[in-house]
Amino acid sequence: MQTDDGRESLTTFAPNCAETENMSRFLSSLAILLILAFAGGNSGLWAQDHGHEVDGHDAEHAHTENSDHNHDRTDHEGHDAGDHDHADHGHTEEFVAGEFIIHHIADAHDIHLFGDVHIPLPVLLFIEGEGLQVFMSSAFEGHGHGDKHYACDHGIDYTLHAEDTLLENDVAVVSGGISAQREGQQLTVYDFSITKSVFGMLFILSVMLWMFISIAGSYKKNPGKAPKGMANALEPLILFIRDEIAKPSIGDKADKFMPFLLTVFFFIFFCNLLGLVPFLGGFNITGTIGVTVVLATLVFLLTNFNGNKHYWGHLFWPPGVPLPVKFILVPIEVFGIIMKPAVLMIRLTANISAGHIIILAFTSLIFIFGDGGTAIASGSGMGIFSTAFMIFMYFLELLVAFLQAFVFTLLAAIYFGDATHDPAHH
């Protein structure tokens, strides 16, 4: 659409204004869809009553009828709120926003879809003196939010600690972890379980393997011809990374680092997108610091193992700088060797988990205003406002998903370029 006066209105391309007609039809159907979505999403709130167990189940049924995917979190929380029925006075358990948010951000040993539906995942524990123990996480018995126990037939008692259990009795079990005891004695447990995040990562890895192996195969089969299908779709992105990120930053050695940059970009991008998909139990892969620290460590190792003489020389003896300033600059530069990958790690984790927390916080607002089902009117009113904001935040999160992958890759390329920069080309 090359024009000299900028944009052209839609009508210049459609002299019979068919496109504008279609546009208005589309807009009105979108409006109807949104109104139905708000009505449907808030129907669960209308169906709830003063926190009795039976009514809690009614609310669950009302929620399951709702098909709009934007209300996934609302649905999810409605089931959670309806489930809390083992309280003292027969009222539903109070909705604690912090607990709800932490539950959806943190890793877990099963995939909690909705209500009581959990997909159990394998638990792999290496216990000193006992070897490798493998069992499914459905073996843990217990309900609600407390600790869950599993007494296996070898005589070991496992405890799956609740998410808010911090340090307890000198056992370094932090929230959500597993501890094991044999006859009252604590055993040292190394947890290698397939948790929700690990499962998500394995899924993303298999998707990426399938995608890129088939793309590579299609390029080999049709040499010199225009790519079709998936290769056609991903080619602009791959070329964008090579031509806008790698080549300007690294120069002629760009091809050496391209595999890593491509892998890291697509891994982060797809993991971010997976975390945004509703109804799947809330994956938060790149929002956990354990994953991003590995990515940052890889960048750190690659930068420093590929650093040439000039890189290390300039680090410890920056040229063109007066001597007193050198004494200040060199510690900062040395500190920067560690800090630059560390900031990469924090930036990615913080952006992704902050996005998830915002969306969850908007959902929690509905239930805080609705007082757990008692104040229907204020809950619904808040629901409309909150859902609108949530939809906006979802679009922003889609942008952030791509942007954070792009920024991580760009900065990694810049660090690689700094390390391999040949000053003969100044």
Binding site: G6, G98, I102, L166, V343, I346, R347, T349, A350, N351, S353, A354, I357, L403, Q404, F406, V407, L410
Partner: protein, 81 residues
């Protein structure tokens, strides 16, 4: 003295964490606002560079927001544990 004991009961740590999160938001707002402002100014001076400016603005905004979110994470850690 009783007022002080009441205040401490509320959880000064968590209150301060909220304050810190607000300060981080101020920092992010000022930073990204300046980026957006100068980008708009540059676009007004040179409309043909618009797409270049737009992509660089977004990248710079992501970097600045990274620093602000650094602070948010610390406040979150304080508030929740």
């Amino acid at each position: 003295m009783e007022l002080l004991s009441i205040l401490f009961e509320i959880g000064v740590g968590q209150g301060l964490a909220g304050l810190g999160a607000g300060a981080a938001a101020i920092g992010a707002g000022i930073g990204v606002g300046r980026i957006g402002g100068s980008a708009l100014e540059a676009m007004a001076r040179q409309p043909e560079a618009m797409s270049d400016l737009r992509s660089n603005m977004i990248v710079a905004a992501a970097l600045v927001e990274g620093v602000a979110l650094f602070g948010i994470i610390i406040c979150l850690l304080v508030a929740l544990g």
